[in-house]
């Protein structure tokens, strides 16, 4: 599974999943902390829809952590102040970068979590759609 998809699942899903996968790696491999979780900024670049040009809307606070496994560095980045999650994401990223065999077994739990996230979003959208309105113009 590619990084974009798995980080979407791990950040939007239950934090316990990232913890479980990271714990599995920590039990078997030496995970060296390259950089402890730290707070920093990500500047967000937006495409505006009037003239299709780019501009910076502002910054977002992120937590970043870096971990090395078998000399492969993994990076965990997440919006907010989330030290634990950033560390777990970094371990999982390093595990994929080092092509550890455990990652082959993660496909199923990740896909199951992705399905749960999708169902939750669909349900939330259904709630929001209760406010869908049909205005009628009045005869004058």
């Amino acid at each position: 599974m590619n990084r974009r998809r798995r980080t979407e699942i791990l950040i939007q899903g239950k934090p316990s999943l990232a913890q479980k996968l990271a714990d599995e790696i920590k039990e078997k491999y030496l995970c060296q902390e390259v950089s402890a979780p730290k707070y920093g900024l990500t500047m967000m670049k937006v495409r505006e829809t009037a003239k299709n040009s780019l501009f910076y809307i502002g910054e977002v606070l992120v937590t970043e952590a870096k971990v090395a496994i078998k000399q492969e560095i993994g990076v965990g980045i997440v919006i907010g102040m989330k030290d634990e999650l950033a560390t777990h994401l970094a371990i999982i990223d390093a595990a994929y970068n080092a092509e550890l065999p455990e990652t082959a077994n993660w496909e199923a739990p990740l896909l199951a979590e992705e399905q749960a996230i999708r169902e939750e979003k669909i349900h939330k959208q259904a709630q929001i759609l209760r406010t869908k309105v049909q205005f009628e113009t009045m005869e004058v």
Binding site: M44, T49, F55, E119, I122
Partner: protein
């Protein structure tokens, strides 16, 4: 004009800071940051937007520390921002990917996908609800449990719905001009001081971090005749937008390899502004241009006002101040305007004494002339 520093007052300043703390604590009530975060959603949004730092928790903390003063909270958050390293630049944020929670059009009653009111004060009675004065945690539990039971019954199936932009639909019909993707790197007003003429990216960055009241007032001035932009709101949308950063912080657009880092809530507006232009036959004809507004959180008034000012500043050959980019861009920043106004209360003894001496000399000279 030169400034002369003052010294002294250390003890009085320390006592003043203690007094300030006492004012915050004398009621002997604790307001948790979490409480502000959970109950003051739109205040938190406004502080983040004006501070240009998206962090609901830190915004709530700043509100607590500032005892609810907007200008102070924004100042605190801006100051904190300056202590943090900028680690990444995001990939281009595509607002079409927004998980829409609210979406309305004032121009068309039927828009593809429909109008969604979402959560809004627009249709509430503006009457004080005295029941809230006695609201208890038990009341909240009861209401939310009932709500959860109700929404459990809502049927949800199929796929997530995507809501196309109203403007895209009109562009397809040829009613609005289309522009090719412009990938020119934006300027950044936090890295380079503003110079005029400003680029479009600088204008939009300053407008989006502008003080809500200032942006709203100038947009309103344009509507009232101190400007020549009176738009129709084509679409207002509020929702969460996903943010991605490239791997290795290289500016690669390889989507599969990028990191998703979470969502930010935004309000985005496209306003339709009628303009008269010359066609290829040199005849005047009516066309539309788009004013663009966007800001952190849910702050629709600011985003609409920004869309008006965006369009004003796209048409600067106009005598009104709202079309003058120096006037607009130099006066809407919260920290700059409140900072400059409030510096007036700090010691200016030497400059004022000098003015006073000048007035005394003039009056003395006049009195001597009259005697002679």
């Amino acid at each position: 004009m030169g400034y002369v520093a003052v010294k002294g007052g250390t003890n009085a300043i320390e006592a003043s800071i203690q007094r300030l703390k006492y004012e915050r604590l004398k009621g002997k009530e604790v307001i948790e940051v979490e409480t502000i975060l959970k109950t003051m959603r739109q205040l938190v949004d406004q502080v983040m937007s004006e501070a240009s730092l998206y962090s609901p928790y830190l915004a709530a903390l700043a509100i607590k520390q500032a005892e609810g003063s907007m200008e102070e909270a924004v100042f605190l958050l801006r100051a904190h921002r300056s202590t943090l390293p900028r680690l990444y630049y995001s990939q281009t944020v595509n607002t079409e990917a927004m998980f829409v929670e609210r979406r309305i059009s004032a121009s068309f009653k039927d828009i593809p996908g429909g109008q969604i009111l979402g959560a809004t004060h627009d249709y509430t009675h503006r009457l004080l609800d005295f029941d809230l004065a006695a609201e208890t945690k038990a009341d909240i539990e009861k209401w939310t449990n009932q709500w959860m039971e109700e929404i459990k019954e809502i049927e949800s199936h199929g796929e997530l719905k995507h809501f196309p932009k109203v403007v895209d639909y009109l562009r397809e019909e040829g009613l609005f001009p289309t522009y090719p993707l412009n990938n020119e790197n934006p300027d950044d007003v936090t890295k380079k001081s503003l110079a005029f003429p400003a680029s479009r990216s600088e204008r939009l960055q300053i407008l989006t971090r502008g003080q809500t009241g200032a942006v709203t007032s100038l947009g309103y001035a344009s509507l009232r005749g101190y400007g020549q932009v009176h738009p129709n709101v084509g679409e207002v949308r509020v929702g969460d937008v996903p943010i991605y950063v490239a791997s290795s912080n290289e500016n690669t657009e390889a989507k599969d390899d990028e990191y998703y880092i979470g969502d930010v809530k935004l309000t985005e507006v496209e306003s339709f502004v009628p303009v008269t232009t010359k066609n290829e036959r040199n005849e005047m004809e009516l066309n539309f241009e788009i004013g663009y507004g966007i800001c952190y959180g849910q702050n629709e008034t600011k985003a609409i006002a920004m869309s008006i000012l965006d369009q004003c500043l796209e048409n600067q050959d106009n005598p009104f101040s709202t079309h003058d980019e120096e006037f607009v861009l130099y006066h809407i920043d919260s920290v700059e305007s409140t900072g400059f106004i409030s510096h007036l209360k700090l010691p200016h003894y030497v400059t004022f004494q000098s003015k006073l001496d000048s007035v005394r000399n003039v009056k003395k000279g006049r009195a001597e002339d009259e005697k002679a």
